[in-house]
């Protein structure tokens, strides 16, 4: 009995020792060299794993950053310039900077401005509502308000405002990861250049119908009158498919355009109040929360 136990212990120990030696050599032979900088770079990244950079996760981006020669097309929107500068240091490369961005909703069709013409009682999902029909209002382009974007946001930067029926984006929390942009079936969210003090000027409308038709379905629709285009001295505004678009890279926030717009579809946020006419929408704009 005792001898059986001893033999068992001995043979198992021997087996273990042999396996250890074999494994040691195998490990030496097939050793995968992993650049230690990958761990270092990963440690700098925000660990949000949001996919905003276009990679499967922070580690995936770290690997690519270390392997690639330059920063071309590689940027963590969540970490921004500070994180990218620290990564550049780790990798001993020249840092690149990008303008900070912020998500904005190109629709201001609140329940008040854009009356409901039918009732949808199906699944509360923008993607499904879009696949089924044009939406509860006469506008074929505007926000459904079921919050696919809110669900996609990993940073808790959005919510649906019950009174307006539109999503609200928090300037503080939005990291410009772009998840909402991809989630919106109507392409209503755009990442635009972020100005100091969260100043914003943009056309809060995506309706491509001719003026009369657009106006009928929503009182703050862009009617494509091109008045803003004419007044802009920086060539920042273009008109395509009956819809004005302000290029946030060219715009200098001079504020000439907004008062020109007959339907108040150009939104100005974050500016000191002007003495003359202020567009109705600017005061209590439903699209942005300014915390505190």
């Amino acid at each position: 009995m005792v001898t059986t136990i001893i033999y068992t212990i001995l043979s198992l120990s021997l087996l273990g020792a042999v396996a250890a030696v074999v494994l040691y050599f195998v490990a030496q032979r097939f050793k995968v060299f992993e650049d230690p900088r990958i761990d270092q770079v990963e440690a700098e990244l925000p660990a949000a794993n949001c996919g905003g950079c276009g990679f499967a996760g922070c580690r995936n981006l770290a690997e690519t950053l270390v392997k690639s020669e330059s920063f071309d097309g590689l940027f963590c929107p969540v970490g921004g310039n500070t994180v990218m500068a620290r990564i550049a240091e780790v990798l001993g490369r020249q840092a690149v900077t990008q303008d900070a961005k912020i998500a904005v909703l190109k629709c201001n069709g609140t329940c008040e401005y854009r009356p409901r013409t039918s009732i949808y009682d199906g699944t509360a999902s923008c993607a499904i509502a879009s696949a089924l029909y044009s939406g509860e209002t006469g506008c074929n382009y505007g926000c459904h308000g079921f919050g696919d974007c809110v669900e996609a946001c990993l940073f808790d930067a959005m919510y649906i405002d019950e009174t307006t029926g539109l999503p609200v984006i928090s300037d503080e929390k939005c990291t410009a990861c772009g998840a909402c942009v991809k989630a919106c079936p109507r392409n209503l969210i755009e990442l635009r250049k972020k100005w100091k003090g969260n100043k914003k000027i943009y056309v809060a409308c995506s309706n491509e119908d001719k003026g009369g038709i657009a106006r009928k379905s929503c009182s703050v629709a862009c009617i494509g009158c091109s008045k803003c285009v004419k007044v802009c001295t920086f060539d920042a505004i273009t008109l395509e498919n009956n819809l004005a678009y302000i290029d946030s890279d060219k715009c200098r926030l001079c504020r000439k355009c907004a008062p020109e717009c007959p339907t108040n579809s150009i939104i100005e946020i974050g500016f000191p109040q002007k003495k003359e006419k202020i567009p109705e929408t600017a005061g209590n704009n439903p699209l942005t929360v300014n915390k505190d």
């Binding site: 199906g122 999902s125 499904i128 089924l132 029909y133 509860e136 074929n140």
Partner: protein
Amino acid sequence: MFKTFHKGGVHPPENKLSAGRPVEPFPVPATVAILLSQHMGAPAKAIVEKGAAVKTGQLIAKGEGFLSGNIHSSVTGKVSRIEAVTDASGYKRQAVFIEAVADEWFDDINTDTLLDKEIKLNAAEIINKINESGIVGLGGATFPSHVKLSVPRGKKADFLIVNGVECEPYLTADHALMLEKPGEIMVGIEILKKALGVTQAHIGIEANKPDAIALMQKFASEYTGVKVHPLKVKYPQGGEKQLIKAITGREVPSGGLPVDVGVVAFNVGTVFAVYEAVQKNKPLIERVVTVTGKNIKNPANFRVRLGTPVAGLIEAAGGLSENTGKIIMGGPMMGKALAIADIPVVKGTSGILLLQDDEASRNKPQPCVRCGKCVAVCPMGLEPYLLMPLSQKNEFDRLESEHIMDCMECGSCSYICPSARPLLDFVRSGKNNVGKIIRSRKKQ
């Protein structure tokens, strides 16, 4: 026992309220809005301009591209504008608006109602005529008929199948047509047989229409190779693949077309349109539309000019009542709820159904109880309970390998689910996404 398909199927209440009502010609409306996209493929291109005078049956838009179709004026009058109009999906699409002043038919259209049995054209001429006349599948899929008739090289049609099943609850347009135009439908079948080069034709009719079955049988006995099959009442018996399975026992492969198993199928409405086009030179400008619902005072089958506003049809059938919950274009299973009533009738409009509030509302979805009913009723052998979460999670590869593209959107799964889960909604959105991926892959 009656023949049927064997996989899945449900038995919604039939509610054929307008059965037995004759086809009444609906008065020519003062204005029609003729949509340029009334077929599967790209919109047709308008060839008339604002102010042009057109006659009934005159070509006003040319179908360009593979699955497109010609469009003809359904009235005589002046083109008042070419402008976007809201269609059944709620989206605005281009349409030709025509103010009707009279009803003068275009040059050589024969408007008499005599039965013309002698087929003068040869196969190629028939297909060409059908193409020119803008005929598309009137069962609802609006697939251009000339494309179906042009059997691809290397494939062969063995027989023609005529779909008189009309398995959608409430709808009776095909039923009424079979009762009224059996002779014309038979000639239409002969024309299609000639175009396809086949000798056998099978007509499938659900057993809940004994009068139509008897009448069609009587007329079919005058012809050789035409057989009428009474089929078991089961939804979706009228689905093309289900009908083919029921009558011939052949199974159309996943992703394949009926012609892959040697069958070409047409709806009876389409067959009648083919008769009129080939024998009477009359393009597709009108169709039979059922207007029905429990709230409708006079459920009816109307022969309606394309472009007539739906609101007018509802008015004529007794008007919109207080507790109408939804207006549906098509049947309750596969139809589309309309956002507004001012939508023009198109080639694919088989019926207008008014649902009461209580019939129209959806129940609140509950978690899946894994009862497997959705799997049991799916006529395409899919697993809807699985497809729904896969679609929610955007697992497109998995969806594709689970054959989501085979879904015919019959709605049986959503109908049967005891947990009221919106299965079809998610399957549809999954199909959209997977379809996009497949198309982009093909382009590369």
